[in-house]
């Protein structure tokens, strides 16, 4: 990773941070409805892994904390914000919402709201890649709490026994909704659990993007070379509550402060400043440009976009004009 890459990644992570913070404001203003799960604190996980993978080429799937993963894969932030606003121009045409961002043309295969649901879906995409003979891999980003679902065990077992090209990334932010990991999970080191499925695994600091990137390179290389699945555990922390309705009462201020001091954006920023690659002023200017871009382009687009027409309520339930419904073309 050279300095130009690092500066680009700093900008991408800062954009993601400001995007999510702006979502928070829009939610408070009641422009965004439903449930909203934000990503601040965990940015180095998504950006570090995807830097080692091929965004737009590899198939990515995740849970409901999905805005940033979609954007990193290539989704237009304007369309993601419009989706949160429920607009027809949204990435899922306003039918999905925050938890269901999709951008299939960039191979972002969706955010899913059932905890653990994507584990077998990712294995299935990997099975399809294998059948079709492509060099893509499937990457599944989920949190630590998803590993207590049956799908984790079922999917990892199948991925291993069939040597499927799938990378499971566990963003271990230490909490499943509001329950701390040691209160819900017998083995808190998640990478240890996959030994049961004979899958190689690693656990690294998820706050330092360079560390994530180096670990992800090994993981991606393993999976892409046909050796089967890999499990990468990234130790991280979310700075906000599980969702907007979460008061964070279950975490100590000391703990929050400790993790705030390990902010992935500041770690990279300070490193670039120390190396003489970036000045404080440049950073501030970058931040201002991003905030302006989000306001003047992203929010403006979402605000001004049309609502989906009510006449199209039943569109997308089933395939349109599928000839096989009527026994094929006569």
């Amino acid at each position: 990773m050279n300095n130009a890459d690092k500066k680009r990644l700093l900008r991408e992570m800062l954009f993601a941070r400001r995007f999510e913070e702006r979502c928070y404001e829009a939610y408070v203003e009641r422009k965004i409805g439903g449930f909203l799960h934000l990503y601040p604190g965990q940015e180095a996980c998504c950006f570090g892994v995807m830097e080692a993978a091929r965004p737009g080429h590899d198939y990515v799937i995740t849970g409901y904390r999905d805005h940033v993963h979609a954007i990193k894969c290539g989704a237009d932030p304007k369309e993601v914000m419009a989706e949160l606003y429920g607009k027809e121009t949204g990435s899922s045409k306003g039918r999905g919402g925050s938890m269901h961002i999709f951008d299939v043309k960039h191979r972002f295969m969706g955010g899913y709201a059932l905890v653990g649901g994507p584990f077998p879906l990712a294995a299935g995409m990997a099975k399809a890649i294998k059948l079709k003979g492509g060099d893509e891999i499937a990457i599944c980003f989920l949190g630590d709490a998803a590993n207590n679902q049956g799908t984790f065990h079922e999917a990892l077992n199948m991925a291993s026994v069939w040597k499927l090209p799938v990378l499971y990334v566990c963003e271990n932010n230490l909490y499943g909704i509001g329950t701390r990991i040691d209160r819900s999970t017998a083995v808190t080191d998640q990478y240890k659990r996959v030994a049961a499925y004979d899958i190689p695994a690693a656990q690294v600091d998820g706050q330092d993007i360079e560390t994530v990137y180096e670990a992800a390179k090994v993981a991606v290389e393993h999976v892409r070379s046909g050796k089967g699945p890999y499990f990468l555990e990234l130790m991280t922390y979310r700075y906000r509550g599980h969702s907007m309705s979460d008061s964070n009462a279950y975490r100590s201020k000391d703990e929050e402060k400790e993790w705030a001091n390990r902010d992935p954006i500041y770690i990279l920023r300070d490193r670039l400043i120390e190396a003489g690659e970036l000045s404080e002023d440049e950073y501030k200017a970058m931040d201002k440009t991003i905030i302006d871009e989000i306001e003047n382009e992203v929010i403006k687009f979402a605000e001004e976009s049309p609502e989906p027409p009510v006449e199209e309520l039943e569109k997308y339930v089933l395939a349109e004009n599928d000839p096989w419904v009527h026994g094929g073309v006569k």
Binding site: G94, R95, V104, G117, L121, A122, A123, A128, K132, Y316
Partner: protein, 326 residues
């Protein structure tokens, strides 16, 4: 037209579709080396190999989800769930993913999977192997539900379902795999929507699907020979969507209706057909429609109790006679 057994028709549909398209795969418990509990995939493992005829672990939610994920990338999985009772475990992936992904992605992604599973009561299998779950599947938007009553339908429904871009659940019956019937020699694609008139009649319409079509046909013979009543039998092979038009057409002619179902009555096919009759042709009815359904109990093991819980042709005859006050 050649006569073949139901399982042979299912197997033939798999074989033809797998020969045509290398992205059609079959998966399920014991379907490969063992050839399938009901022989529906016999010989296919030898012919197409383990990458396309996949013996899965006993992980219903996992392998159903895996098939759905593969379908996102254009693979056409035919997933066999060995017994419909085990489909309860896969409901998360079927309902939360397959049925909803087209809608919640705004039409970007689809899950063209075929999920086949036998259900029904099959002689003393007990409460956890006798579920009739069609009513559960037909209540969810985004999923097609079909249910064959004979080998021709079994063959033609799989052929169409594999090619259709929607997820399709095919409800089969454990007791019907050895049933014989005629299947066209050439390729045949059965519609996934609509209904079929299995027997024409003018006095009363008997609605059945899957195994209950046969009770209705037997009942119609008895009614004709012993009671001078000519019953029309309508085969509701598509449970979602139900054929509103076909249901109304037949009852507008006969003015009487009985619905036969192997399942418990609540929230079922009978309830739904009665609602359609209320909504569409209430004033065509000469008598209130009647349901013939199973007792509302977990299916008992004891032979006599099980028999008492599940309806049959005699119950259909009695229901029709009740419409005439006999």
């Amino acid at each position: 037209m050649a006569e073949m057994m139901f399982w042979e028709a299912v197997r033939r549909a798999h074989d033809e579709e797998m020969a045509r398209d290398p992205l059609v795969i079959a998966m399920g418990e014991d379907i490969g080396v063992a050839g399938g509990t009901y022989k529906a995939t016999q010989g296919l493992w030898d012919k197409y190999g383990p990458e396309r005829v996949i013996d899965t672990p006993i992980s219903e939610n996992g392998f159903t989800g895996l098939g759905i994920g593969a379908s996102f990338l254009g693979v056409r999985p035919i997933i066999e769930i060995m017994s419909v009772n085990f489909a309860w475990l896969a409901m998360d992936q079927i309902f939360n993913t397959a049925a909803k992904v087209r809608y919640m992605s705004g039409g970007q992604l689809e899950a063209p999977v075929v999920i086949r599973s036998p259900g029904g009561c099959a002689h003393q299998l007990g409460a956890q192997h006798s579920a009739r779950m069609e009513k559960v599947f037909m209540g969810v938007a985004g999923l097609r539900v079909v249910t064959p009553s004979n080998p021709r339908q079994a063959y033609g429904l799989i052929k169409s379902a594999v090619r259709c871009n929607d997820p399709v659940f095919i409800n089969e019956h454990e007791l019907m795999y050895n049933m014989k019937g005629e299947v066209p020699d050439g390729e045949y694609f059965h519609p996934l929507e609509g209904s079929e008139v299995a027997r024409e009649g003018k006095d009363v319409t008997l609605f059945g699907y899957n195994v209950s079509v046969h009770w209705c046909l037997q009942a119609a013979e008895i009614l004709s020979k012993q009671h001078g009543i000519e019953a029309e039998v309508v085969d509701l092979y598509s449970l979602s969507p139900l054929d509103r038009k076909g249901i109304v057409e037949s009852v507008s002619k006969t003015h009487r209706a009985v619905i036969a179902e192997e399942a418990e009555p609540a929230v079922g096919v009978g309830a739904e057909v009665m609602a359609i009759l209320n909504e569409e042709c209430f004033f065509e009815l000469d008598a209130a429609p009647v349901r013939v359904s199973a007792a509302n109990v977990p299916v008992p093991y004891n032979h006599g109790l099980e028999k008492a819980a599940i309806p049959n042709a005699k119950d259909v005859v009695e229901a029709v006679l009740s419409l005439y006050g006999r």
